[in-house]
Every structure is written in C-alpha cells, then in structure tokens.
Symmetry: C4
Subunit: 279 residues, 4 copies
C-alpha cells in the first residue's frame, strides 16, 4: 500500500473498519474540540534546530525503569483492539516488541493478559489498570500482570466515569458478539451492550469505582512490587500529589480527548501555562 | 430521531420551521460576527480537570432565591414560541418543570402569563419584562406575574430599541396571523406587521420606552415584592450600578448577539478583560 | 431588489459591472492581503455597550469645518465613476447631498468639477487633489474647486506612484473610449490606455509628481483659502509632521489597500500600536 | 501567457512538470506545516509607509562583496533543475545575469560548474557546497568553482542528512535516466535511484558527511580564497558561532522547510523572538 505517514494509515483504517468500531476508536468527548486541539496544538510548537554538530553517531534510544527502548515512543493502552483485527492486542504487542518500543495492555482488552504475555514473551510490557468496584477482581488483575511478565502498572486516574462520545451514543455501541472483555468472565466479560445509549458508558458506570482517590493509589502501591504510573494527570497540582503519593511515574494525558471536552491538548500541558495555572 | 446534541436538534429545527420563524429565531444583529463569537468564544476556555477525587456522590444541583434546581441551567426568555409549535411557551415551561431547571417567560410571548402559569403550576417560573411607554400596561404585567405564580422579574435593559437583523428586514417579518402577543389586547397584541421592513423592530420602536434608565429600575423595585434581576449587562461599570440600584441579580448577556454586532461573546464577559475594561 | 446590507449591494455590482471596471474598483495591491485585512480588522474591535441610559433622544449628527452632517460618514474620493453608471460622480454627489453626508470628488473623475458643482449645488463638497508635474495644471484645479462651491481640498499623499493591482495589469486596464478624465483636456484627459500593462499606472507614472513632499503641502496652503486635509497618513510620525505643516485635517487611510500590500488595515491604525510604532 | 505574479507562474509549473519532478520541487518535510508557515508568516509583517518623501529618484540596487545587484534578491541554490527544462541551471544563471540579481549554483546540479560558468560568464555567481565524505571530491568542487568565475562559496550547514519528504518517499524519487549530477562522475553522478524510498535521501545518507561541524568550516576557510557564507542558520546561538568561525556571511534559511517540520518560517527568524530564544 506504500503508506508513508500516520494520516495515510488513518485514511486506510476508515475504509476497512466497521462503523461501530471506527466510531469508537476515533471519537472524542462532546463537540470534539479538544480532539482537534490534540493535533493543532503541535502547530504552536517550534523546533529550533542547531547546526554543524557532528551527527554521524545518533540514536533515539532511551531507558525507562532499567529497560532500553529504540525510541521514546510507546503504544498507549486502547481498549478492544480485536474489533479492528482478529489478532488484536497480540499483534500490537508483537509489533511493539519488534520495534523495541513501549507497549501497554488495556484492562478492557479483547485479548487476555495471559494471551498477550505469550504473544510477546521476554519483552517489557506494561499493564493498564481500571479499578473495579470489586477490589478482589482488581487485585487479581494486578497479580496476573505480575505473573505474565508485565513490568509496570499504569493506573488510569481520569476515568471514574466515561466521557460522552456522541457517535457511541447514536450507535448504541456494543462489543461485537464474537468478542469479550478477555480478562474477565461472566457479566464483566460480556456486559458492553448498548441499551438505548453507549454500551461502554453503561458498563463503566456500573462496574468501575467512581470513588477512586489517592488512598486507592496507596492501596495499589501496598500490594504490588511493580512500579506504578498514574495516567491522566493534566495539572501541576495533581502531579505534585502524585509525587507525594510515591508513584513511580506520571503519564500526562487527556485520554485522547475522550473524557472531557475543552481540556487542553496533551502536548500543550508539557509546555504551557495551563498546566501551571499561571495564566 | 435519536438526537444526542444541541447541534442535531438545531439541524432538525432547520428542516421543520417556516422560514419567517426560523430566520427570526436564528438571526443575530448586523454581520452576525458576535453571533458566531457566542459559539467560538468557548474555544478559548479550558477546563483543568483534577483527578482522584471521590466522585461517587455528585450533583449539579444549585439553589437560587431559595429554590432548588437540578442544574445551573435555565431557559432564557425568547419571544413568540408558538411560531415553532402550537403549544409554544406552555410546552417549554412544562419541560423546564419536568427537568427542574430555570424558566423565564417573555413579555412578548404567544402564550399569556395566565396560560403558562396554569401549564406549569407549583413551579418557580420567572417573568421577563419589557417596559412599555404606557407604565400602566407595564405595571399590570408585573401584577399578573405575581398573581400567577411567577417568582422573579427579569428586566431586559439592553433593548431600548431592537437590533437590525437582516433576515427580518428582508422577510418583512410579521407575526403569523393566527398568533398574537398573548399578554396584550388590541394593537399591542397584533401590531407585529412588517410594513417594508422588520415588523418586530417597528413594534418595539413604537411601543417600548427608549428612555429607560436606572430610575425605572427603582420604580420597578418600589412596587413589586418579587426579586428583580437586570438582564443584558456586559460591563463592570453597569454591574456596579446595578448593585447600587439594589437589584437582586444580574444576568450577563449580549441578548443572543441580536442587539449590537461586535459586542463580546456573553461567555467571554465572565472571564475576560473586556468586561473589566482593562485591556 | 430589497438590499439590506453593503455586501448585498456589492454582490449586485458584481453582476452588472463590466469586468474591466469591476476589477479596477475592487482590486487591492499585490496579494490583496491588506485588502482582506481592511475587513477582518473589524473583528478585533469590541463594542462595550452601556445600558439604562435614556436614548429616546439620539442623533448621529456631527459638524466638520462648521458644516453639519447627518452622520460621521462620508464618501471617499474614488476615480472614474462613470464606468459604473452614466451619471457617475454626479449621482453620487446628489445622493450624498440627499443623505447629508460628506462627499469628495476625485481629481481623476469622469465628471468635471463644474458638472458636479452644478449637480449638487448649495452643498459642502470636498475636492481630492493629485499634484501633477505641471504645477499650473494643479493650481488651476484648486481654483476651479474654489469657484464651484467646493469647501475643502483633500491632498492625497500616499500615491507618488500607483500600486500594482494585478487584475489591472492582466486586463491592460484602459478608460473606456466614451469616457475622459473630465477635469482635463488633451492627453491628460484621454491618456489612460493600457499598453501591455495597467493604463492607470502608466498615466500616473508619466503625469503625477513623484517628488511630492512637505514643501508641496506648504505651497498648496500658501495659495488656497480652503482648508487642506492630507489623506493617506498611516503613522504617528507623519501625523505629527502634518500638524507641524499646518494642515487643517488628517485622513488616516491605506487607500483601500490599493497602494502597498502588507500595510495595516485603516481601522487598525486608529486603535493599534502599529500606528504608534510601539509594538 | 500574461503572468503577473509568482503564484501564477507556480500554477503554470503545476501543469507542465512531470509529477516526479514537481513533487520533488514543491515538497516540504513531514506534514509541511513549516512549508505553509513560510508563506503565512508574511501575514504577520506590517509595512508602515511614510509619505511625502521625494521618491522621484529611487533604486533597489545593493552591493554585496563589492558587486552591485539591481535588487537585494537572489536565486537560492536548488538541485537538479534540468528536470524542469533542458537548459536547467544554465537558463537560470543567464536570467539572473540579465536581471543583475544574485545566483547560486547547487552542488547537486544537473549542469556542471564549467557549463554554468560559460553560460553566464563575466558575472558574479556563487557556488553552493555540500561536503562529501570524500574530502578530495569536496576540495576539487571548490577549486573548480574558483577556476570558473564563481565568487563565493555557500556552505549548506543544515543538511547532514536530508528531511523526510513524503511525496519523494511515495514516488521512490529517482533522477530521470537522461540526467546526471553533472559535477560528478560514476556513482556520485548517477546514484539518485529510489530503491523502495526516496533516492535523494539514500544518496545523501551514503555520500554526504553527517559529521559536519565547525572544524569543517575552518578547513574550508583555510584553503579557499573565496568568501564563505554558511546557509541554514536559524538561531542566534549559531549566528554567533558563525561570526567566531570567521565566515564572511550568514544565510538565514529553513531550507524551504524541506529539512525539519515545525521549524519557524525563515522570514520570522529575522524579526521574531524565536531566533533570539527569548520567548
């Protein structure tokens, strides 16, 4: 196909994906203003190139938690990847391993922790955690990640409930019947059914713990030996609280602009006064 | 119809409303620059979300003048709603009651104070007041609002004359013959007839009092026991005068950008230097 | 035709004017960036309306050089108006008189000073002056303006040569053969012929005095008893020199963005730092 | 054809050039954001015209290294011009001579130093230099420039490797078979062949010296008697290093936005804080 840029891959995806899945993957919250901002914000950033520096030896390698990567790039956790391709999360994990870049598996994946562990063995994968109301279920997820070669826990902290994505509301988004939330059994595995609205929103509202707070972070830190990162921080205030709580890393993210519209672009938070609340 | 956003409702309205009515409802003054600004100004506002705060118990409830609402949202007074639907203001008042949100009836409604009072009884409705040259007519409106269960008077202060809305000028806007200004009798009820221009502009120019000033606010406060809010304030200077005059509330508004083009967006006045004249 | 805004009149003009004339009237210099800016610059200006001020008596009247106008609005001098309509400058002067607004006749009009003087008698008209290399010709223009009821001289100071307007270059712009520069005889009257380029540019380059400077302003002030305004000032520095030279008025203008592209919008010069060179 | 602006010439070129060549000439790096910025940045620049200054004698002449030019404008070195026309660099050099403006021949031209020297004799032409890994090859280029009437060396300092231009990647850009890099023989002359990607990128990566640094500038200054300019400076820091290195001139340039996307527009670097790193 001779694709040479991300936008060309995206255009191809629009051709082959079923509407239900495509809409789920590509939607942002509300009017999708922040979704657009996530792209246009890059236009405010200027690279100031220096010249006449010997670049015959150059590398984009970096190291995180003692692991070397070929570039400071990783694949963020995204849910239900088998809607796009039968190999789903397994194929993505293998690709990440081949390219030596970061990979994080979503809690609400359509491939299980064990399956992905075997698809990309001997490779440092991270596991993204949603905290279910049922803390036993939650702890078991962490244990399984530890047992299957995952090397860090990425705790999502910006999704006590899910954002309103209008396409999912209109589509009454459901997980296709041949797929399940592969890390679970029973209702937790099959419960994404759009009954007059977005099935994923209803699933999250009934099963995720909306009371999530910093004490839950302490609880998580208390029983896992893996490093814990909190994902979804957008303000300096929360970054400071994260440091105080003793987490091992922060992932600045607006969740692909899928949770709240009018939030700043993720990339802007790294460089702008919005993060520091000094404007 | 499965409509999930305001813009989808708006799109549907464009399909079903007669041109004369649609143009009246959707037009802004002049080039409609401020009309567009009323929407685009939201793009300048950023939400800075905090995370890991227990949100299992959450509410958007608020209280105004001792009355509880389900959300800090209300329906602004808009004129002549029966042009859109036979139930007009009555249906809107009922909907507001059902949703427990604010509702204000326009002076120039196509349903009378008494009718709307009975459509949504036992509910805290407000009444928007235009001051007619005939002060007896004006005082009688306030008395009828008091007698029919309305709990506040919203005095419009930004419309001594009406703005130039080009579509109304071109359409020679008239109230459809089967409708009247239901709060009045005679010429005051049937006088919106476009004779070579906008009928509503001619009605307002001949009947509204263009000499309106802060002494009229004092006059209103002197004879009604209801709280009085002034609607249409856009500057800090006028907000301070309103406080001095003893009103019970201020509604910052640019009148849907229907009065003067090039005014700031309503939402910007809450947060910007334009309001404070310090730029 | 029921036209209710300037843009609608403009749209009609596009339908009826010959291309040669339309292009001449509507073009700006170069890429026409400043031409667009002349409109969009208004979007940066905010009106801050005050309310509850008695506006039952209101007027837009103003007075300039002892003459009353119905509004602070006037018709700028524009060249060769008979290309648009057989009555040309005469019709426009009559309309200005009827509306009691300002009017300035161009030196390079297709109606003569005498003709326009008679078309709108007993009315305060101004005369716009280009200084020809032949000072005798120039002085005679001023004398004729004085003798025909014109009450001020508007000296254009931003056109020692004319700007490059691409449509005129492509059209090889010529004055239509049935028209002349009506204030002149011979070559000065008929010399706008596009010989492989813009005829008006060639006319100006051969006949206008590109050495124009402040001493010429003094010369003009020395022999006319009419007030003299300089038109085309865009900077504080030149405004100050104009005051020192003793002129009676300044017209801030970028010449409809027809002279130099990338100049600021005229309206911006009244309110922005560009004029004051302090940015 | 009656073309009166650069954009019209560009439009014509789009009609006549083969896709492979057109894409090569018009592409910028990455998303081409800086390519667009190279044009739109001019919209931020305002000309503040002064008036009433005698401009009857005016000139755009300027002098560089003791040579007079008709205007402070020159033709930047661009590669492989025979893809556009059989006369290629020779025609462009002749045109520059005729117009008395600057001209710089590219190292990777499709016409040789000797050919262009004879096409535009007795005229001050500059030679743009890429430093090949083979320093003997590089020095010989400089000697040939000296011997063929070139009067300055323009050392490109922003291209140790070439930027990713997506159209070239998709086209597998190759130099058309009837053309060669005319300043070279063997593989250096014919090596631009797109084997599964951009041929020019592969050529540059294999032959240009990516270790280029300020010591190479000193090396160049040590053996040529011609003035040396460094082309591709975008920061104040590098400009200062260039002065310290003793070069005779600096050409501020972002290489037509062909090397790195998100760099500032060239024109902005002359006037903005980006250059000075003070924002």
């Amino acid at each position: 196909m001779n694709l040479v840029s991300l936008s060309e891959f995206e255009r191809e995806a629009h051709k082959v994906l079923p509407k239900n899945a495509l809409d789920y993957y590509k939607s942002g919250a509300g009017d999708e203003y922040s979704l657009r901002l996530n792209r246009t914000a890059f236009e405010k950033i200027r690279i100031r190139p220096r010249c006449l520096i010997d670049v015959s030896n150059r590398t984009s390698e970096c190291e995180v938690f003692g692991v070397k990567y070929s570039a400071p790039i990783g694949i963020s956790p995204t849910a239900m990847q088998k809607m796009a391709h039968p190999e789903g999360e397994n194929a993505v994990a293998k690709a990440a391993k081949n390219q030596e870049i970061g990979y994080t598996l979503s809690t609400i994946a359509t491939s299980s922790i064990e399956e992905v562990g075997q698809s990309a063995p001997d490779y440092s994968k991270w596991f993204q955690l949603y905290i279910y109301k049922d803390r036993g279920v939650t702890e078991r997820l962490v244990r399984r990640a530890e047992e299957n070669g995952f090397t860090a826990i990425v705790l999502t902290v910006d999704a006590p409930i899910f954002g309103l994505r209008r396409a999912d509301l209109k589509n009454h988004f459901s997980l296709p019947p041949h797929l399940t939330m592969a890390n679970f059994t029973g209702e937790l595995a099959t419960g994404v059914k759009g009954k007059g609205g977005s099935g994923i929103n209803q699933y999250v509202a009934s099963l995720f713990d909306a009371s999530l707070n910093w004490q839950d972070v302490e609880w998580l830190l208390s029983f896992t030996k893996l490093p814990v990162l909190v994902k979804g921080i957008l303000t300096k205030e929360d970054a400071e609280l994260a440091v105080e709580a003793g987490v091992h890393g922060i992932i600045v993210s607006n969740h692909g602009a899928r949770q709240i519209d009018s939030v700043p672009a993720t990339v802007s938070c790294y460089i702008s006064a919005i993060f520091y609340n000094v404007y």
